[in-house]
Each structure stands twice: as structure tokens, then as C-alpha cells.
């Protein structure tokens, strides 16, 4: 029983990371109806930036905040420079641009930092919190950070005029333009926010999986799955999906089929969910009018 609780809680901790990346995916999906394949690599790259800052003598939290800021700027710049010219191209063309970005970011990271594995510091104490024997304090910390981020995002979209404008731009670009919202810039802001969320996820996961150029590969896949299981047009659903996928992955890997096939089985389960409920748990069901 203890082992089960331990696996479930550890699953929640990694699930928090999946939830953050899934949230970043959903943010861009809502605005553009495209899945950004480069999201994971963007997060990886930002984590390397944080590593550089920490090694340059910054404290953890100043480096953390600076990295989030830099990630935001990087996201905005990428949207303005790389994505904007292909806005009206066919879907697959844009997908190719995303894949191109993924490859470029990965390659540059290998080039600058070499492929060797680096350790990344955790801001949380090493001994378990409150003397519990189930979760390390980093795991608890990661969950708390994820939840705080979620709350901030919710407040931003719900209570600020800028958040309202961004929602309007995503939901109905034409009408939003008519009432004077600069839809193009809202999209760039969305990219910036998504990059910043990704950066937080990267910094939270790096102490667990260690820092290396391919660290986000598997995470992006799970986040993709999480976003779809939760419903790709629902941020809350994405977070729920993230936790669900994290727990499933851990419990299945530990008790049912072993680590060798856990990726495959987790994915099969997710597809099972989708076959029964094609728009995910919290997604809108689209009704087509003929």
C-alpha cells in the first residue's frame, strides 16, 4: 500500500510538469489551432539559460525570474520573426516550421552546451518536508509552483483587461479586430506566455531528469497526450490531463507492465479514452452544421 501511495504521489509530481507543458500547448492551440512541436525544446533551451545564469553567480530565485522574463521575450520574438510570415500558409507548412524550430533549438543547445548531462539545482531543501516518507520536497515544491502558476494565469485571464483582450482575440479574431484589439500582438503575447510557462516547467523538471538537450522529448509527448485527454480547448482540462497521465505512467510502470513498455501502454490507454470520448474529458464537442 505504501508503495502504491508513493507511486501515485510521485506521479502527481511529474504530472505537474506535464500539466505545465500541456498548458503551454493549449495556450497556443486556442489562439492558432496549431500544436507547437517546438514547445518542449523551447523549455529546454530556457532551462539552459537558467543554468548559465546560476553558474554566472545569480541566486536561484533571481535567475528563475530572469529566465521567465527572457523566455517571454524569446517567445514573442519567435512569433514575430519566424511564425508571422507563414501565418496564412497551409497547416502542414506551419507544422514544418515548428519542426524546423525544434531541430534548430536542439542543435544550438548541443552546440553551445555540448550534449553532456548537467545537474540542475533545486531551490527546495533536500530532506523531506514535515518528515513525510512519500514525497521529496522537490516534488512537493514542483506541484506547488505549478499550482501557483495556474492560479496566476487564471487570475490574469479572468480579471485583467489584457487577459480579456487575449481571450477575445483567440475566440473571434475578426470581431476582436473591429473593437480595436491588436490581434497579431495578442498572439505574440500568447507565445511569450507559453514560452514562460514552458521555462518554469523546464526548471522544475531539470533537477529530476538532469539537464541535457533531449530532456523534454518524452515530456512533450506526455504533455501532448495530456492536453488531448483533458480536451485541447480547455486549460483546466489540460492540467487535469497532465496529472492523470503522470499518475497512470508511474503506477503502470511500477506495478503492471514494467518500465520497458510503459510508454506504449500509457499511450494505448490514452487512445482508448479518445476512442470512447473523442473530444477529451473537458473539451467542447463540436457539432457540425451541414
Amino acid at each position: 500500500m505504501d508503495a502504491l501511495i508513493h507511486q501515485v504521489l510521485a506521479g502527481l509530481a511529474t504530472g505537474g510538469i506535464y500539466a505545465s507543458v500541456a498548458l503551454a500547448l493549449v495556450m497556443i492551440y486556442q489562439a492558432t489551432h496549431l500544436v507547437n512541436f517546438a514547445q518542449g525544446e523551447l523549455a529546454m533551451f530556457c532551462t539552459y539559460l537558467a543554468w548559465t545564469l546560476i553558474n554566472a553567480g545569480f541566486g536561484y530565485w533571481p535567475a528563475f525570474l530572469l529566465t521567465v522574463g527572457l523566455a517571454f521575450v524569446l517567445g514573442v520574438v519567435i512569433e514575430r520573426v519566424v511564425i508571422r510570415p507563414v501565418e496564412n500558409s497551409p497547416v502542414l507548412a506551419v507544422v514544418v516550421v515548428f519542426i524546423g524550430l525544434l531541430v534548430i533549438l536542439n542543435s544550438i543547445a548541443v552546440w553551445i552546451y555540448t550534449g553532456t548531462i548537467k545537474t540542475f539545482p533545486s531551490p527546495f531543501p533536500t530532506e523531506p518536508l514535515f518528515g513525510n516518507k512519500f514525497m521529496s520536497s522537490h516534488e512537493i515544491g514542483a506541484i506547488v509552483v505549478t499550482l501557483i502558476m495556474l492560479l496566476l494565469l487564471y487570475a490574469f485571464f479572468r480579471f485583467t483587461p489584457l487577459g480579456l483582450a487575449m481571450r477575445a482575440a483567440a475566440q473571434n479574431p475578426a470581431s476582436a479586430k473591429l473593437v480595436g484589439i491588436r490581434v497579431g500582438w495578442m498572439l505574440a503575447l500568447g507565445w511569450g506566455l507559453a514560452a514562460a510557462i514552458g521555462a518554469v516547467a523546464g526548471m522544475m523538471v531539470a533537477p529530476i531528469v538532469f539537464l541535457e538537450p533531449n530532456m523534454m522529448g518524452g515530456i512533450l509527448l506526455y504533455a501532448f497526450a495530456a492536453a488531448l485527454v483533458g480536451g485541447v480547448d480547455s486549460p483546466g482540462g489540460a492540467v487535469f490531463g497532465g496529472f492523470l497521465v503522470g499518475v497512470l505512467e508511474n503506477v503502470l510502470g511500477a506495478f503492471v507492465i514494467g518500465n520497458e513498455l510503459k510508454l506504449a501502454v500509457a499511450l494505448v490507454l490514452i487512445i482508448g479514452v479518445l476512442v470512447v470520448k473523442p473530444s477529451g474529458f473537458f473539451g467542447k464537442v463540436h457539432i457540425t452544421r451541414v
Partner: protein
């Protein structure tokens, strides 16, 4: 096909036949791979370009084809040419069966399902219960076939011609399929599946069959690829292969048969060029090439060529028509 296209195709085929005598053995091998990729891309293009179903997992069908061929040759001593139809048939069946549940999924969700297939394939191939067939992580080594009937060719050249023959056959088959009743049904489903259904097309059947046919093409390509490279291992069929296929059809040109060849040339040679430009970060250069191609030719190489031809054609027509207009003005109505 009109007279002009036929001439162009014939000339290109002649050039393709002459190629092994003009370049080194290594280049011949590379061009063999281009032909292999062209078949795989055509398969993916039938599904994505003509039927509108996005697949991020075609590397898995390529792997199944490759492994079928390798296991048949290695464990059962089947001759290499006989493995192709078997590999194709296995993939046809797997593709059709995968296509059935995938019917409920559209767009992104289908992309995820196929993505899952692509990601789990290397894991399945490494799975220790299958090891006595697949050779586990080590993979399987197969021998290169010698040219038959004492033909004066070296093995590389023979394999090139063999692959070329298979490719031409597959392309002719695809061309026939796509311009016929089934092809029109596929396109109708892509453009408006409700309207297609109202017209009496069995959309479920056509979609699953398209999945099967697409997997068939990719599987045959996988078998040919395994024979050409003489080696299969789980990690050469990772998710990146599937993504590269998708890049190939997007850059070659969606819903076009020649697009498969352009895409194949791109995914075979551009990484090499990138490697020559920058040894330190070759993939960054490759990524820049990818984005650059999309900026310059959003409809793919085939779309760009078509636009160019249309523009040239219009110019020629304008010249002709202005020439034609100047003459009748002599006895135009105003003067008469």
C-alpha cells in the same frame, strides 16, 4: 497524361537509368535510398495529401516493412524480392486494422494516435519476448543481394535498378488509383466528408482502406530500405523518421505524385549539405533549410513548379494573343 508530360517522364526515366554509370557506388546507394523514400512519401501523401488524414507515425509502418523483410530473409531464407509483397501485405493489414478505430479520430487526435504508434514502435521492437525474432537492440544484419543472370553490374547498381523498377511500378499503380473512382472518393472525403457521404461514398471503408494502402506503400519502402542498408535496428525507426516523412511531403508538395520525389531528394540530400556547411550544428542548418523552403514555397516544390509553369504558359499565351489581336485590327469594325 498528355504528350508533353509523357515525354518529360520518359526523359527523366532514361536519365534515372543512366545514373549508376555516371556517379560513384556510394552516390548510387544514396539515390537508391531516394527511390525508397519516394515510395514511402507517396504512401504518406496518399493518406495525408489526398485523404486529409495526418499521420505522425508512418515510421512505424516503415519499420514493420523493414523488419518483415529482414526476419524473412534472416530466419527463413526467403529471397529478397519475395519479401516485398509479404512486407506490403503485412502493412496493409496492420494499416487497415489501425485505420478502423482511428476513424473516430480527426485532425489532431488522429495525429496523436499515430504519434503514439510511432513512439512505441522502437520499444515494441526491443521488447524481450520478441527478441528471438527481432534480435532485440542488436537488430538483424542481412546480406546484399547479387545481380541475377550474371548481369555485368555490381550489387549497388543492381539494387538501384531493382528499386527503380519497383518504384515505377508503385507510382503507376498510385497514379491509376488516384485518378479513378477510389481516388476521387478520397479527395471528396478530404474536402467535405459529409457531402461525400451524402453522395453515397462509404466513408468509413474508404478511409480505412486508404490507411491500409498508404501503409502498404510505406511497408514496401521499408523492406527495400532494409535490403539496401543491409541492417535493421529499433533505434533507426524512432519518431524522428515519421516526422521527417511528414516534412518530406510538406516540402515536396501535398497531394501530388511528383512531390514525393522532390521530398525524397530533400530528406536524403539536404542533411548532407547541412553537414558540409556546419559540422558543429548541422541540424540547425537543416532546420533553417526547412523553414526557408516553407517561406519561399508554401505549397511545396511541386506547387512552386506548377505556379512557375502556369506563369510561363500565361506569358506565352499573352504574346500569342497580342500577336493575334494586332492582325485583325486592319479590318476591325470601326474601319469597315
Amino acid at each position: 497524361m498528355n504528350q508533353r508530360t509523357l515525354t518529360v517522364v520518359a526523359v527523366l526515366l532514361l536519365l534515372a537509368c543512366a545514373l549508376p554509370f555516371l556517379v560513384s557506388n556510394y552516390r548510387t546507394f544514396q539515390f537508391t535510398l531516394v527511390l525508397v523514400y519516394a515510395i514511402a512519401l507517396l504512401g504518406l501523401n496518399i493518406l495525408t495529401g489526398y485523404n486529409g488524414q495526418i499521420s505522425l507515425g508512418h515510421g512505424a509502418f516503415y519499420a514493420i516493412g523493414a523488419y518483415t523483410a529482414a526476419i524473412l530473409m534472416d530466419r527463413f531464407g526467403v529471397p529478397y524480392w519475395a519479401t516485398l509483397p509479404v512486407a506490403g501485405a503485412v502493412c496493409l493489414a496492420v494499416g487497415f486494422l489501425f485505420g478502423l478505430p482511428a476513424l473516430r479520430l480527426e485532425g489532431l487526435y488522429l495525429a496523436l494516435a499515430t504519434f503514439a504508434l510511432g513512439v512505441s514502435m522502437p520499444q515494441l521492437l526491443k521488447y524481450h519476448h520478441f527478441e528471438k525474432w527481432t534480435g532485440g537492440v542488436q537488430g538483424i544484419v542481412i546480406t546484399k543481394p547479387d545481380p541475377p543472370f550474371g548481369l555485368p553490374l555490381n550489387p549497388d547498381q543492381w539494387l538501384y535498378y531493382f528499386t527503380l523498377a519497383v518504384m515505377v511500378l508503385m507510382f503507376v499503380l498510385a497514379w491509376n488509383l488516384l485518378r479513378g473512382r477510389v481516388g476521387r472518393a478520397m479527395v471528396a472525403i478530404r474536402d467535405h466528408h459529409i457531402a461525400a457521404e451524402a453522395m453515397g461514398i462509404n466513408t468509413a471503408m474508404v478511409k480505412s482502406l486508404t490507411f491500409g494502402v498508404s501503409a502498404f506503400y510505406t511497408g514496401v519502402a521499408g523492406a527495400l530500405g532494409a535490403i539496401a542498408i543491409q541492417f535493421v535496428a529499433p533505434d533507426s525507426f524512432n519518431i524522428f523518421l515519421s516526422i521527417v516523412f511528414l516534412v518530406g511531403i510538406a516540402i515536396g508538395g501535398l497531394a501530388s505524385i511528383p512531390g514525393a520525389i522532390y521530398g525524397a531528394l530533400f530528406i536524403q540530400f539536404v542533411p548532407n549539405i547541412a553537414d558540409e556547411i556546419s559540422k558543429a550544428a548541422p541540424w540547425a542548418v537543416f532546420g533553417i533549410f526547412m523553414i526557408g523552403f516553407v517561406y519561399v514555397m508554401p505549397l511545396g516544390v511541386n506547387g512552386a513548379i506548377r505556379m512557375l509553369l502556369a506563369r510561363l504558359g500565361r506569358k506565352a499565351q499573352n504574346n500569342r494573343s497580342t500577336a493575334g489581336v494586332t492582325r485583325p485590327t486592319i479590318n476591325s469594325p470601326e474601319e469597315v
